[in-house]
């Protein structure tokens, strides 16, 4: 059993009581909601004649179904329009704040929380969305829940949870040029497995993690769930505080900032904290990672050969065989040179300003391959505005990318942005599951934003380090 970790401290401070099931009733500091998983919960509340208990601690946005090209109302897709209208009706009069597209604050739920300063260290955050783990980047305990639990949170601002083990994932050393957070997390998932984190919370640390900016930390924590861990977090430090200081929550109130900071310092893991286990990964050995299969654990370094399913443990062979058949790849080949039809730069994993800047740096002065349709979908309206302020939109559009409105877009097939037929996509998103991007014959290769940029230019999976001369260290 762990002790002295951030997880233990935050858990204890939010414990309401022990339940007869042996679970803990845990207080929720921030409940984020969106249009896909909340309407049924609102329906359950109405059925039971229950009101939202703590509306000020609930915050709504719309992201999965919003079109990113033409956002005028009513939406062209009737189902999307119905879901949007339902959310508008559900939050009206409740006191729940809603970042409606008209406010300029709308965006992917895991982008808007951090950018507004709603996401803070030492808080508990839930959302009906598995990528809620993203918020752990700030030292929050954040995890996805189902719709029945959303009902519970509306009704009580609490959830019934079992305490989990804490695994320290220590990434040592310095990352190489053009190697970033996405490559680190894909390496972690490959190493520990897609179910390796079941029953665990991951605490990421080590010099390679500490050197990351907040955007990179969010990419890491975001994909904790792809490794089976419902939550992952990074202890707050100066980088975290600098981000928070500039957010809406604290910008005009330095006294409040200092007061909160004292709490943030208090909940950091102790030097002598005990973990259930510790895993160490050498960050200096990581190269840009791409997936060859249909689970996020099926990744390889760009220079490595695609593995032979026969070399896998028996239980994983069949999954690997089917994945290679679907992707049309063969053992021994390399992913470098794998032709692509679509380049997608977006999603709650990689659609923040730093991601767009890094990709734009690769794109600048180059052109998207004529056979590739390429789109950039900023994670929020604010990211979009900030990027336009820097002129990044022009870099992308001049190269041949489409510059879209904020939303989940092509990460999943719930809006107009989808793969068609057996298209192959270089994607900065988080899931390469069969059918995830809207076509069940579609093929997804997960990679970092700079690798997506390189693939867009070459029309095939490419090592970004050879595309452009690496700046001297």
């Amino acid at each position: 059993m762990s002790s002295g970790t951030l997880y233990d401290k935050v858990w204890d401070r939010h414990t309401v009581t022990e339940l007869p099931t042996g679970q803990t009733q845990l207080f929720v500091g921030l409940h984020l909601i969106h249009e896909v998983t909340s309407p049924q919960a609102f329906g359950m509340l109405a059925e039971r004649d229950i009101e939202v208990a703590y509306p000020e601690l609930t915050h709504a946005t719309v992201d999965h179904i919003v079109p990113t090209a033409d956002q005028s109302r009513p939406y062209a897709d009737d189902a999307a329009e119905e879901m949007m209208a339902e959310l508008e009706a559900n939050v009206a009069g409740t006191g729940i704040e809603f970042d409606h597209p008209d406010t300029g604050d709308q965006g992917i739920v895991h982008v808007i929380g951090p950018e507004q300063g709603l996401t803070q260290p030492g808080t508990t955050i839930v959302c009906g969305d598995s990528h809620t783990s993203t918020h752990g980047a700030f030292g929050a305990l954040a995890f996805g829940i189902g719709t029945s639990q959303i009902r519970d949170v509306f009704a009580t601002q609490t959830v019934a949870m079992e305490k989990q083990n804490v695994r320290r994932v220590e990434v040592t050393g310095e990352l190489g040029p053009y190697v970033g957070a996405k490559d680190v997390i894909l390496t972690i998932i490959r190493r520990l497995g897609t179910d390796g984190g079941v029953g665990h919370v991951y605490e990421y640390g080590g010099e390679a993690i500490e050197a990351l900016d907040m955007e990179g930390r969010m990419s890491i924590c975001n994909m904790s769930v792809e490794g089976g861990a419902r939550a992952g977090y990074i202890n707050p430090d100066a980088t975290t505080y600098e981000w928070l200081r500039e957010t809406d929550a604290f910008r005009d109130d330095p006294e409040k900032f200092e007061r909160h900071k004292a709490y943030w310092e208090e909940i950091r893991s102790e030097e002598n904290a005990e973990y259930d286990d510790v895993v160490e990964i050498d960050g200096s050995e990581i190269e840009p990672v791409v997936t060859w299969g249909t689970t996020p654990g099926q990744g390889i370094g760009i220079s490595e050969p695609i593995p032979d399913p026969e070399d896998f443990p028996e239980s994983d062979r069949e999954v690997a065989r089917r994945a290679q058949e679907h992707m049309d790849v063969s053992p021994g080949d390399r992913m470098e040179g794998y032709g692509i039809d679509v380049a997608f730069l977006g999603s709650c994993t990689n659609a923040r300003l730093a991601d767009l800047r890094a990709a734009a740096e690769v794109i600048e002065g180059r052109e998207v391959h004529p056979d590739v349709r390429a789109l950039v979908v900023p994670g929020s309206q604010r990211v979009k505005e900030a990027a336009e302020h820097e002129g990044l939109d022009r870099v992308f559009t001049e190269a041949g990318f489409e510059w879209r409105g904020a939303g989940c877009s092509m990460c999943l097939g719930m809006n107009e942005d989808q793969l068609r037929g057996d298209e192959r996509c270089a994607s900065s998103s988080n899931r390469n599951f069969v059918g995830r991007q809207g076509s069940k014959e579609g093929r997804t290769v997960l990679m970092s934003p700079v690798m997506v940029a390189a693939a867009a230019i070459e029309g095939e999976v490419t090592d970004v380090r050879t595309l452009r001369e690496v700046a001297p260290a």
């Binding site: 007869p20 719709t147 009580t156 609490t158 239980s315 059918g435």
Partner: protein, 246 residues
């Protein structure tokens, strides 16, 4: 449905009305393969709705139909049409947290799931519907899947208290997570009323947290002076805050 009717999955407004789930029995349906994610169980396009109604017919849709023609997926096979016990392999239900996945399986007719392992959020979502997720060793699962494939009429009984899966002459020792077991056996898998009953302790926890603003908790259920559980009773402060917060 050939199986014993288990507890209804329709939530009951009254906590006293949450039924206990002691066992599930019926014929089985094997779905083989590790890492079957919730996008496979229910493709995202069927999430574009404001209720869970009608999801049953879309369970595993993209595996069941190819160019509009039914495939040989078990959910299409005649011999499994009355099955209520789903038998799966490792990391079943990984990926998206969508409760639509167990809702779809429930509506298709599944009453219990037996497998090597389950993704956490998925298992929690099943529990919220009163659907047990029982784990068993890989050899036992493979044998059960083979047996069901060969003798689809075999009656399978999943017993929660004894944590066993019985079929024919065999009794498989399974595992039911302790909290899940208690919740099912004591009828507290629908947690809303249970959680609500601690409204005073909830308020006190909220009050003790340094980052929670006073305005966010004033007039909440369990707050002093307004302990009826009805937040509209004597909570002018909250009403005022709500109005100014828009």
């Amino acid at each position: 449905m050939s199986g014993e009717p288990m507890s209804g999955s329709e939530p009951d407004a009254d906590t006293e009305g949450v039924p206990t789930v002691e066992a599930a029995s019926g014929t089985g349906v094997p779905i083989r393969g590790n890492d079957i994610d919730t996008d496979q169980i229910i493709p995202a396009r069927y999430l574009k709705a404001i209720t869970f109604d009608g999801l049953g017919e879309y369970a595993f849709y993209d595996q069941r139909f190819q160019d509009g023609e039914p495939t040989d997926h078990p959910f299409n096979e005649e011999r499994y049409q009355d099955a209520s016990i789903l038998v799966v392999n490792a990391n079943f239900g990984c990926g998206s947290s969508r409760e639509h996945a167990p809702q779809a399986l429930d509506r298709w007719g599944i009453d219990a799931i037996v497998g090597e392992s389950f993704a956490e959020i998925f298992a929690g979502n099943c529990l919220a519907l009163g659907i047990p997720t029982v784990t068993a060793p890989v050899q036992d699962i493979n044998q059960l899947q083979d047996h069901v494939a060969e003798y689809p009429d075999t009656e399978i009984t999943v017993d929660i208290a004894s944590e066993t899966v019985s079929y024919g002459e065999r009794v498989v020792e399974g595992t039911v997570d302790t909290a899940q077991r208690t919740a099912l056996l004591e009828g507290v898998w629908d947690t809303t009323e249970l959680l609500k009953s601690n409204r005073k302790a909830i308020f006190e926890t909220a009050q003790s947290l340094p980052y929670i603003e006073d305005s966010a908790i004033e007039g909440a259920p369990g707050a002093p002076g307004g302990d009826s559980g009805d937040r509209n009773a004597g909570t002018e402060a909250a009403d005022t805050t709500d109005a100014s917060g828009d």
